[in-house]
Symmetry: D2
Subunit: 355 residues, 4 copies
């Protein structure tokens, strides 16, 4: 399929939304088909055809002041009239729970960036306390969802009507750990530790005491200890149980970027080369993962790219490893991966528009 498709984005006002808009506007396949931006728009703005995108995100303005790109009032009819085929939802969890079934009913293909449809196990979903949990519609919708990590589920995504885009922390940990667990070299009885650190954009655009500059700057804080929502994704996608891993997120005083430092023990001694080979083979057909064979990745290397960077070091006895996994929480951790999923869904090169 090489023709352009019409996309739409709901939820462009947030940080992930802004990145998604930027990526879609510059995507080589979509150049002549800018996405339809839709959302809640008040009457006054509706009267002028919507809110110019550059009023929300001045950095996205070109220099003609035309403000031609607008966030229009959302309706299913409008999406239909505009010929939308692929819908991106960068909306709160509850809204995605409500809208995704409708979107599927309207025949749209959906990439949902929220946590609404990522978890197949109800036990893991409990932390979200979804209102529609247990309903038939919800179950049917969940059954259609592919977990949107092309490195693990490329085929499923290609055929899916609904792609649940992974959490940022989850992406950084799963890509680093899954290959080793799949290879059978990890001694799970000793437990995995994932100590993760994320920039403030991960905490969302709402001004809160936690996102206040005076809280975040010159600081580091741990949160969600033993309770972070992304834990369920780790369990389902790595294929382990809750007691096998401790995952602790921290809030870094940087705008964007994420590092997970991961500690594993091996069943038997490994060498740097034996581990590198496992990663290389696992990601042989994955262009958006970079394996660092000499140095360790740092956050700034992956920021503003869609790469997941993975490096590691092995103890002298070959039995323990420290793995460092970095990515941009707004790109490979959110909107970049969403576009990667769209590429896979449409049969395009997975990396297109992501360089």
């Amino acid at each position: 399929m090489t023709r352009a498709v019409q996309t739409a984005v709901v939820g462009v006002t947030g940080y992930a939304g802004a990145e998604l808009a930027r990526l879609l506007l510059h995507h080589p396949r979509l150049k002549d088909k800018p996405p339809v931006f839709a959302g809640r728009v008040d009457e006054k703005d509706a009267a002028r055809g919507g809110v110019p995108l550059e009023e929300i995100h001045p950095q996205l303005a070109d220099n003609n002041g035309s403000g031609s790109l607008k966030v229009e009032p959302f309706s299913w009819e409008r999406l239909k009239d505009r010929g939308v085929e692929v819908l991106f939802l960068a909306t709160p969890h509850e809204q995605s729970r409500e809208w995704v079934p409708e979107a599927l009913k309207h025949g749209l293909r959906v990439v949902d960036l929220s946590g609404a449809w990522r978890l197949s196990d109800a036990k893991n979903r409990a932390v979200y306390a979804f209102e529609d949990e247990g309903s038939e519609v919800a179950a049917a919708t969940q059954a259609k969802a592919a977990y949107g990590m092309p490195e693990l589920h490329r085929k499923e995504i290609a055929g899916a009507k609904l792609v649940a885009n992974p959490g940022c922390y989850a992406t950084s940990v799963i890509l680093a750990v899954r290959p080793l667990v799949a290879a059978g070299i990890v001694d799970l009885s000793h437990g995995i530790v994932a100590d993760a650190k994320s920039g403030v954009s991960g905490a969302g655009k709402a001004p809160t005491s936690k996102t206040h500059f005076m809280h975040a700057a010159d600081n580091l804080s741990a949160y969600g200890v033993f309770s972070h929502r992304h834990t369920g994704e780790l369990l389902e996608q790595i294929g382990i149980c809750a007691s096998d891993i401790v995952f602790t997120p921290h809030l870094l005083p940087i705008p964007r970027g994420m590092m997970s430092t991961i500690y594993v023990r091996f069943n038997e001694a490994q060498t740097h080369e034996s581990v590198a080979r496992i990663y290389r083979e696992f990601f042989a057909s994955s262009s958006m993962v970079r394996i660092y064979e000499k140095a360790l990745p740092q956050i700034r290397y992956s920021v503003r790219t869609n790469f997941a960077d993975i490096g590691f070091q092995i103890s002298s006895d070959g039995r323990r490893a420290v793995i460092v996994s970095c990515l941009d929480n707004l790109l490979k951790g959110a909107s970049g991966q969403a576009v990667q999923n769209m590429n896979v869904m449409l049969g395009w090169d997975e990396a297109e528009g992501l360089a």
Copy 2:
């Protein structure tokens, strides 16, 4: 007067309040008389005698977990019962307009950190749109207020019942410009430019889109151009009129600290030494101002001190100067100056408890 006095602080929850608490708790004259902290306290907290200070500001905790310092429910009776003589108000402008007259009626001496009583000219006050503007009580209260900049008004402060603690921007500009204007060397017809930059604590503790880490970090923004509230203080205290100065504040991506870069032209050629002499003489009895004669001050030199740092450079023709004035907006720009004012009011060494 060498005996200790009982102080009280209303408004300890903000950034200036936290610094004020720290200073008063460690003030050598007040060691055995910790301030009374008072404010709005809900019923549940009132039942446990108030909110432990360390729950609001964990950095102020000692290690005994006793939580003995508490923010108690405010009432005038309580202040009286506790023998309070000096009241610090770190409250919003409108609240200070209301409470200061009452405090004076109760015989308290007040240091008010808000903008409520700084301006003697109603024209300059207009920007605040005080509800009680024009009332008799307000006029009588204003008449009692000393502008709390000891370097300019030491005597008035010593005798005052009410000290209006200056704005942070105002302090940094006035201390740098007033000596030169007073010496008659500034060519006002060419205008003064004060380009000021402040850390985020100056924007207050309320989480807003402006104080969000994602807005402030890696950024610089100008605001309040031709309209900032501190302008009136500049006019009244430097003794100039509105067309003589352009003052532009900017929000710096740092937690605290402030720099004003000030541009003046001279009536006739000056030398570095002639200007230095004017500053030295003006501040001869002022221990909290440091004149930089070699290098220029930088923000980090004055942060966490109560010093105002002033340096300057003269053009080769001796007709123009760039003056750099730095201070900590929470100390010399707020709570440090408030304590300095208390020291002056009580006949103590002006720098006591501020080293």
Copy 3:
């Protein structure tokens, strides 16, 4: 001219060099002709064909670990063999003084990012103390140089063999002030003040006490007062003399981005619209300048774009203006403008590869 050309970059190791590499590698016209990277390379690295670009700038790596892009040992022969037509020099001033005449002799077209050839007036060049100052070759080379600001010199650049890419501070001030001075509305007798602030990348890659994190972070410092090297560019390009302007740079605690806050007085009262019109007309055919008509630009809006953002506010009497000019010091202030100049030289759309 629509065919691709072969470019070369000397000096890719610095911050501007990295951005230049990124831009040229993704330039739509040059996709199949990656630039030749050349520089000093030691014997060991020469033996492996040069230093892989991704060892110097890991963020530029793709994921195939091929390291195919290399910084090769520089020689004029090599450039010739590789068919280089356009040479970018991101080299120190003195090196550019030496190499540019040679490059021109070899028939190359040059975009020089250093300060070597920006100033036509020897008086203004004095601050650089070039060793070859006064030589015949230097004079002849200078005579060939076009000042690389397309918004002012598009035609000259189109025909030039040598383009002297402007300084970052100079770009931000000239673009904001030149239109108003050209329109004759600025009262120069009152003087212009340009208070500029730049991120740390502007201070270069060499680790110094000034670029140390502990110096720059949580700080602001003024430097080069009355003496910064970019002043000569302001004088020559705006068309004013030294006493007409005071320009003060400051070091901001951010990686990249720049703001100049500029203060001018007008000969007669202006309105917001009258000034906006002057800017709009001046930049009518300039796609890389954005005029802000409602809010003021902030640094973060222009960072990682090639736009120069200009906004302003007029005093109520219409006689004074505060102009805020923002750009990314590594893009519009360096490598982005260099690519823009290349586009103009080659007859391509000026904005190509810069979106």
Copy 4:
């Protein structure tokens, strides 16, 4: 012993040195006895009696411009003439190896802030590759050294001639882990993970590519994986062997402050209260440790204090814990602990001058 003593500081130019100077200058027992500052001083500076301290650390200046505090040329005679009794060495490891034996010979009591004398086991010292390793003098000196962590070795420190001040990372991990290991509840067979993060001041004052603002800002990087020098201190002071722990330091984009996130498994299920009790008892007589029983500590709570802040969370099965340990790397992690050690050595209250 309540009389004042004369102290001296060698190595005041670094970050720890500046903090040490500040603490000693304001120490209530030493007010009238400012420390002697000594170091390498060139001839020109020697001629003016040394380098004024405020030229090195402008933030330490008072406002009289007297520059009376000077870094004088070092000699043992001078220290003797000045009546120095306690010597602080904030010098490189090798210099401390050389000077400490001499200082002891001159009858001085020494607090050494370097890593020179912290490790009693030669195997652990190997990483430093000391030139005098194995010499008789070195062995005799090491035998005299007390490990300067009052919470573990108060008595030894009180009687010691030589106190080896601990490493910052070591302090943050040991204080958090030693109490639990000593109580016998930690299952060492599963291994301890200590994921530590430090501000840039920990990397020293030398400008390097690692301390460059452009490297550190907006970044996070792991380093010293499986090889950091502080590991030996962990082993000796916690009482474990190398395979029991993995310790990974990271460089945080903040000036100062440190957090260690520590993962342990318990032999049998614990409760929050059972663990809190262990900590409370262990630190019952330690005023510089704060146990957080409700929330977790954050870096900013301990920065600019001498407190070590420890908090923790227990998994629902009671078998695993995440411990968060924060301190200021320049205070409890260096100079504050050095002053605490001096207090203990001199029989003063351990917290004196550290509030």
